[in-house]
Symmetry: C2
Subunit: 236 residues, 2 copies
């Protein structure tokens, strides 16, 4: 049984559900940093739950412009968009070395059939994915560079904090400024300048892979971060 499942962020399973998910689970997949887990325009017979590491969903334009749609952290479900269309509409890449729980897509019908509560969880997970993209779109569409950078930093801190992946006021980021830029719809250079300005103003620092939050309150205020605590969430 996954270690993740025991964390207090996640809802507990009933016995039958646990048995089912163990049957549903096909195995584990480990993937190196930089590998592409799912490719836009292709079909994948698998679904995944990310167990360890960071990944991200993205889309690219023909000329190479890239937009990161959302970051995928432990407990997140990956690949739901697939069952639906013939092809994936986005790609997923591992930002760090990543461990995934693999489910065969054809067993999904069994889940719907036998486990209504899990069906609901699946809907929940799907809408949560959309919620995160919604927030990101609000940032990219309507916030200034400083607001966007602050928002994303706080967003990632909060998500990691809920998973016990923070150390006090700091956070280990397995991503580069390029990822930040591509998630925020900013250029790399301007992202860097904005980060440096936030650092000079004493809001945060980002050295190597460590991001330290010097003034979380100020960052929340600047970015208009919405503190909507979420209750225990499902994990599959």
């Amino acid at each position: 049984m996954c270690a993740l499942r025991q964390m207090s962020v996640f809802r507990a399973f009933e016995g039958r559900e646990l048995d089912f998910v163990e049957w549903f689970k096909m195995g584990e997949l480990e993937v190196d940093q930089g590998s592409t887990v799912l490719v836009e325009g292709h079909n994948s017979p698998h679904l995944y739950t990310l167990l360890e590491g960071w990944a991200f969903r993205y889309k690219m334009l023909e000329d190479g412009r890239r937009q990161i749609l959302s970051f995928i952290l432990p407990g997140d479900f990956v690949g739901l968009q697939g069952p639906v269309l013939k092809e994936m509409q986005h790609s997923v890449e591992a930002a760090s070395r990543v461990r995934l729980c693999v489910f065969p897509r054809e067993r999904l019908w069994k889940l719907y059939e036998k486990h209504p509560a899990l069906s609901h969880d699946l809907v929940w997970l799907a809408t949560r994915g959309e919620r995160i993209v919604d927030e990101n779109l609000l940032s990219v569409g309507r916030r200034s560079a400083a607001e966007r950078v602050s928002f994303l930093a706080v967003h990632l801190f909060k998500r990691c904090d809920a998973l016990g992946l923070t150390q006090g006021q700091s956070l280990d980021l397995p991503i580069t400024q390029r990822h930040f830029a591509d998630a925020l719809g900013l250029s790399l250079v301007h992202t860097n300048k904005t980060l440096r300005r936030l650092e000079r103003n004493g809001f945060l620092s980002w050295k190597g892979s460590k991001m330290s939050f010097k003034a979380l309150g100020k960052l929340k205020e600047l970015s208009g971060f919405d503190e909507s605590e979420e209750s225990r969430r499902p994990i599959i």
Copy 2:
């Protein structure tokens, strides 16, 4: 039974499913143009399928900046994000007079329990919502103003075309340039200038509520529109 359901875009129901949905359905709701159907920060005990008219999902910042997240057209399911959190994370407003099919949220468990195929449809609808926001985020994050405007125009045309809501190469838009601007993360003025430039170049025109596509191919090319035909989709 809804007239919508008989359209060829939508998948057909089995008898039992149809009976169920008729029980699931609580009634219909008609709402005037400009009314807010769901309010961010509040809880709604209802789910909806939009039957007629246009609506849109949006989020606002405290100072009034608004980002439209996606447009809601007939057949789209509304309100799924609610069951999940205590509160809606976005608002929904009617762009035209709108007719909605209303479902009480508490009957949802019965759907999960008795109708695995409908559970799957629900997941499908949820992921479709995310897919649309993904595409929008790619636009807003990485495309130029002319590309964005073209993309949204083509996107709306395609969706309406599938629903039989177009007249040849033109389309009745119950929205204003302000909606366009807020969906695209552009200022109203710049949206207008971009539209006028597209018109001068003979790509499209938008007079009153009628948008005419003079060169659909050129618009697709300019915007990088991805022609992924989707198969029959579910409707609930």
